[in-house]
Amino acid sequence: MDFLVPGLRHFLVLGSILFSLGMYGVLSRRNAIGILLSIELMLNGVNLLFVAFARYLTTQQELAGQMFAIFIITQAAAEAAVGLAIIIAIYRQRRTVQVDQLDLMKG
């Protein structure tokens, strides 16, 4: 039962799964906010990778992974703010936030 004991690869796999699920969400959700949510999911998957690496790896710079994760969270917040602002602006103009309806420009 040793393989059940969580090690580095467990976290990595979990992070990757979250990342791919997020990717699926990004590609399949129609609602722009839903896409934003999915992106957060992807970022969390990546964060998990960073933190897991920070714990398990041989390195001169301990905690670099955690620092990275912190900055990613920061960026996620900023991104969410700008993203939501754009979504709200779109909603004001078009009364929709479904991205597949936003195809004025193509070709």
Partner: protein, 173 residues
């Protein structure tokens, strides 16, 4: 290998991991695949975020776990839920795109998932022999102002940009 040799601690940690992992994956799956309602999707994401925070805790990143809960769940998710409420009529619309796009999305994400999982499992990571185990908050604070002062400063610019940008874009004319 969890940095402890105590069987009970190991058991608890293992159990926590699996519960957290399964919950996260399940919530994430539900969020991206089956939940139509945006509020519920947001709540599902919150669940995932909680699960990830648990993982952080398991990985000894206590500060990060806290930050995850405070910043993500406390701030970002609230922001998102506000946004959802500010777009009435868009909460319950059919959640997913057309079937061809969905099929493509499935294939692509499956492909990326498989290849990345395959890679992370096969890769001979240079794992350390003894795990670092310390309260991170203090170190992080110190590092933030020493070694990582440049990213820290850039992050401040980033937040400034986000601030101005969000205000100007979202402002009613």
């Amino acid at each position: 290998m969890l940095g402890t040799t105590d069987p009970f601690q190991t058991f608890v940690a293992t159990l926590t991991f699996w519960i957290g992992a399964v919950a996260s994956i399940a919530a994430a799956y539900l969020m991206v695949v089956s939940i139509k309602n945006m509020i519920r999707a947001a709540l599902a994401l919150t669940t995932v975020l909680g699960g990830v925070a648990t993982m952080y805790a398991l990985l000894g990143a206590d500060f990060l776990a806290a930050a995850q809960l405070v910043v993500y769940v406390g701030a970002i998710m609230v922001l998102i839920i506000f946004a959802i409420f500010m777009t009435p009529g868009q909460i319950d619309v059919p959640g997913l795109v057309g079937s061809r796009q969905r099929l493509g999305a499935m294939l692509v994400s499956l492909g990326v998932g498989v290849i990345s999982i395959w890679v992370v499992i096969r890769e001979p990571w240079k794992e350390r022999t003894t795990l670092l185990d310390l309260p991170t908050a203090e170190s992080i604070g110190g590092l933030m102002l020493t070694r990582y002062v440049l990213p820290f400063e850039i992050a401040s610019i980033l937040l400034t940009v986000a601030l101005i940008g969000a205000i100007v874009i979202a402002r009613e004319e």
